[in-house]
Amino acid sequence: MIEKKKLTIALAGQANVGKSVIFNHLTGLHQHIGNWPGKTIEKAEGTLFYKGHTIDVLDLPGISSLSTYSIEEIISREFIAIQRPDAVVNVVDGTVLERDLIFTLQLLELERPTVIALNMVNLLKKKGIEINFQRLEKILQVPVIPVEAIYGKGITEILEAVIRLAKTEKPFKPLKFGKEVEARIEKLIQSLKDAEVPYAKRWLAIKLLEKDKEVEKLVKEKYSKKILEEAKKLQKELEVIYKHDSSFVIASERCLLASRIAKKVIKITEPKKISFAERLDSITSHKILGYFVMILILGTMFLSVFKFGDWLSSVLENIFASWPEAWEEVFGSSLLSSLAWAAAESLVALTEIALPYILPFYFILFLLEDCGYLARIAFLVDNLMHKLGVHGKACIPLILGFGCNVPACLSCRIMETQRERFITGFLVTFVPCSATTVIIMGLVGKFLGIYWALSLYVFAFLIIFILGIIASKILPGEPVELIMSVPDYKFPHLKTVLSQTWFRLKEFLFIAAPLVIISGVIIKGFYLAGLLEPIANYLSPITVQFLGLPAITGVLLIFGILRKELVLVMLSVLFGTSNFAQVLSPVQILTLTLVSMLYIPCIATIAALWKEFGWTRALGITAFKIIFAILVAGFISKILLIFW
């Protein structure tokens, strides 16, 4: 037999089982994160070399099952069935083996060579769990490798097992369900005998009994419609016997099978003392204390990120301060050179946001996620979030939004359905980001006092709340209830956190840079051609008459599309003073800040919205925000003028 030198393996597993840690161990920095063709789902791949083999590793999206629940699940099972990786590595959390076995059983139904990486075995003893690995191996008929991913133990053993599996194609012996179900699966397999579809016949039969919509479509298109009728008849028979929907019957059978296996291989003795993780959990998830801890942790996070960001961005500003002059010296001061500088300046500005703010934000957030805290926040705020038509997990994008709206929009992927993603993404664009904070503090905070600034934040929360309620009422579809596995607290794995931070940061730059550079050049061109003031004059019915601002603010707001803090920067450039109280009345200061807060998402955010939701929705949000900002700010300025 010729030994295959090039292998493909797919990592599959539920959320929080340590899959990404194993992926990082396998591929190191040789990974590539892209998208699945035509989908907004992430595809992480990497390559490694081991004993003369080139092994491509693909990290399948973290999923909770292989039923058609989400796009991720369909992608995963299609990949396994159609791309036929040489082996599937199923990462399982040993401390919750019984739960994870249900997923493993679904995976085995796809009949690809599988290795089970039984992770977290280092925690078993402390939790009073004993697992008989050999027995599990025997029952499932696949290699079971004990792994301690965070210490890198068991990784080479996984590779050895994969290579061994790839050499010997073993006939597959399925695990059997109950008699009644098995008989009907057998019947369907017989009828599917001649079907030319890439999936295993038994898997198709199971899925047909489970009323899997995708499989029904596939069989109808590729094989015959008649089989669906037969499946329907068999489903009915099961429903008569078990008095439950046949899809539930199959799921129950799988659960029962998992329980039976678990009983044979797991021995649990209740640990005598409550672990530190449990104690921590009882404080951080506490009905009342939990909220204090949350505010403390998030508050510390924001303060330290902003402190650090302030410091680093001023350092960077000093470094970049001399660049415009140097540029002019080298390239002269022609039109072309100015435009080229506009492009370079956009990149510089992007760096000044990415390094000081987004980098530490991502780092802390991934740290909190890795140790398990984010799931607790989702638990604490779930009720509140349901009022906005989304569930607890939506708090993560919203928190990220305070740093920068771009990564926040991208992180809406954690929500299960398109509807949830869109509502969250829409609301995120109303969260005051770090650039908006610069405006709020630099204008209102400095000239009207900190209480006015804080009340603007309260106002922003109110708007998010109200718009959330409205959006969840208007958008079609049912709200999704939160069903979330809660991981135990654990010590974060620094390498995984760092590599996640790094890849996210890279993604941010790649998504934001093109549009930021192009629009930077265009606006600079308009500016040099003297077109901005005429445009501002065109806008004056809105800016001057409706909002009561000086006409020149039109120019500011155009620059603000690039980066919000430019509103403040250009204000001092155009008025030639940084004492804005001299040139703007208090009401004007408030109005201008309100408009800057609410109007158009910055161009980088539009790029992110575009990527996640398509251009119609991105432009829809943009148009809505512009109109909404003008109406709200105009209305409030009119009210304020009565009293002021």
Binding site: S252, E481, I483, S485
Partner: protein, 83 residues
């Protein structure tokens, strides 16, 4: 489904912290029910209420050795026989 078969039975949302029970039925939507089943929550499964959030939920339960958080709305559709 939907009716409480005996007075003893309670919906998950009405159970107290620390209380244990056996699942009788889940009357959520098709998708939610399927998803719960994929996580091992089927009738006859034993569960324990670990904690509840402020204002009656969400509910955190222990099922098959794992912890699971379920929204208030869905927890009101899961019928349990306390033990």
């Amino acid at each position: 489904m939907g009716e409480k078969l005996s007075d003893k039975n309670k919906y998950l949302i009405d159970m107290k912290e620390g209380e244990k029970g056996t699942i009788i039925s889940i009357c959520g939507g098709q998708v939610a029910t399927k998803r719960l089943m994929d996580l091992g929550l089927i009738p006859k499964t034993r569960i324990k209420i670990l904690r509840k959030g402020l204002f009656k939920g969400p509910v955190e339960i222990e099922v098959r050795g794992a912890k699971l958080v379920i929204s208030r709305g869905l927890a009101a559709k899961i019928l349990v026989e306390p033990i």
